[in-house]
Subunit: 312 residues, 2 copies
């Protein structure tokens, strides 16, 4: 009986590793550095070594391990990916390479999608099978889960939530090359953009806590909670972009729950409430009551999701 599995979350600087029981109990977690030199050729061997060392340490035999799930920053489709810029990888067959090294079953996925699966399994959407997870960090990422499975997409672009076009009046390019993406107005940096605009446009007599030279998403939300009128306009604009876009996604995949994660989600309940307001305005009637909740797993979402991925 396979009692254990590994969840591996490969980032540009560290690889997060988790040893789980197959019921989702996290037994141990640790990190190793991501060695991106030599085209990242040591990354998968390093992962193989740390897994074998952990199995030896815990007295776990290969027959006890259901497999190794791996989240990587790139467009994965069926265990392979064409490139992963942050890892200095070109085309890579993770299943083949890591499977040969470890002798274990391997399942790979895109890191944002895998983190979404983690939130479905043991986080904000625990017990649900149909979920949209949005990660509001430096960018806007996420993952779509339908009937318990990640929507990978034909080009590995499933769940690229941040790249809906939402604004015609932005003329500088998003990281993706387009102009006017959700990510440009609803990420931590997008909130700073909106705040700077509001500060430039505000009436000179209007008092505000916000200062153009010292601003981030946390400062904006703190001012919003204090009733600052400029911050209120910023947060309402942000929430309208995000809530309306989530409503559009909702009438396509009709999830049981929408989860908000990433650094911006530390703003907590006031964030959920204002996004929910604009979501409800725009949502299809059958989906208006779909709950919007906060993510729970923080930086561990990736290892949980990777472990869940290999359990099928």
């Amino acid at each position: 009986m396979e009692k254990y599995c590994f969840g591996i979350d490969v980032g540009g600087t560290t690889v997060k590793c988790g040893l789980f029981e197959t019921d989702g109990t996290l037994l141990d977690k640790w990190e190793i550095p991501t060695r991106t030199e030599e085209g990242g050729s040591q990354i998968l061997p390093d992962i193989g070594k740390t897994i074998r060392a952990k199995m030896e340490e815990k007295g776990i035999s290969a027959g006890d391990v259901a497999g190794v799930g791996v989240g990587v920053p790139g467009p994965v489709r069926g265990n392979k990916l064409p490139y992963a810029v942050n890892l200095h990888w070109g085309a890579m067959d993770i299943g083949e390479v890591l499977g040969t090294i470890t002798g274990l079953r391997i399942k790979a996925g895109n890191d944002a999608n895998v983190a979404a699966l983690g939130e479905m399994w043991k986080g904000g959407a625990e017990g649900r099978d149909n979920v949209i997870v949005v990660t509001l960090g430096t960018g806007v990422g996420g993952g779509i889960i339908v009937d318990g499975h990640i929507v990978e997409g034909a080009h590995g672009a499933g769940g690229e939530i941040g790249h809906a076009h939402v604004e015609d009046n932005i003329h500088d390019a998003c990281g993706c090359g387009n102009c006017g993406c959700l990510e440009q107005v609803a990420s931590a940096t997008g909130i700073v953009r909106l705040a700077k605009e509001e500060l430039v446009n505000k009436d000179s007599s209007e008092a505000t806590e916000l200062k153009a030279e010292e601003i981030d998403a946390r400062i904006v939300f703190d001012a919003y909670k204090n009733g600052d009128s400029v911050a209120e306009r910023v947060v309402n604009r942000f929430a309208k972009y995000l809530g309306t876009t989530l409503a559009a996604y909702s009438c396509v995949v009709d999830p049981e729950v929408i989860v908000l994660g990433g650094g911006v989600s530390k703003a907590g309940d006031p964030l959920v409430e204002i996004v929910e307001k604009y979501y409800k305005d725009a949502a299809f009637p059958a989906c208006k009551e779909t709950p919007i909740v906060l993510a729970k797993l923080g930086n561990d979402a990736g290892i949980y999701g990777a472990a869940r991925l290999v359990l099928g």
Copy 2:
């Protein structure tokens, strides 16, 4: 060996029926009236009778039949639906009722979603597993297919493509109760709305084929093909709404192909070209080359998709 299956498409006035071989060959199709009187209580028994009669006529035994797929106008989830207004139904367990009557395996789905599955199986998206189908008719409907399966959604609202909020400056309500839905600007009636606006706002010296009192989507597209400048503005506005929304959906589900169907799609290649132009502007880079094609099955999409549904 099960050689046959039935595909049934239940509409408000007629029930379309198809007898198929399990490889998708349509052997026979016919219609019966939809008897909506008495709360629509005769609809499923009528379907049972016509199936039995057809089996008798063709000398087909129950053991030769893989099952009966049924598309109905309502929010189906797992063979059941809470209501179907056009059929005068309240809550209905189609699998239970029709299964008892026929003794055959039953699988039900929402009619728009089922039609999308038909286009995937034997229509514009034949050979693909990940598809967005948009039906541009009186309304805007559609279906999302991920890895060969319909996305039903938690409330049976999967694929409700027409109800993305796309316009803040519409203050009359869509059929769904919200204001500013895609359906209000991208359906046949939405195109008429845009044309009337452009006729009101145009400079009096600008010549146009379009007349406010005599206008429909076909007339607008005919004028567009003739180079009429007012029709050009209408079609470009329509295509921008639709193409941008499809691009947003594309970065969520990342399909292999997008299929345009419904009455408006009779405009043909010029429709595809202009929608593709705005789609490409807004699409995530990995999805920019996703083909947009015309639906092929017309009114038969429903029976094809219903038959495919029961094959699993």
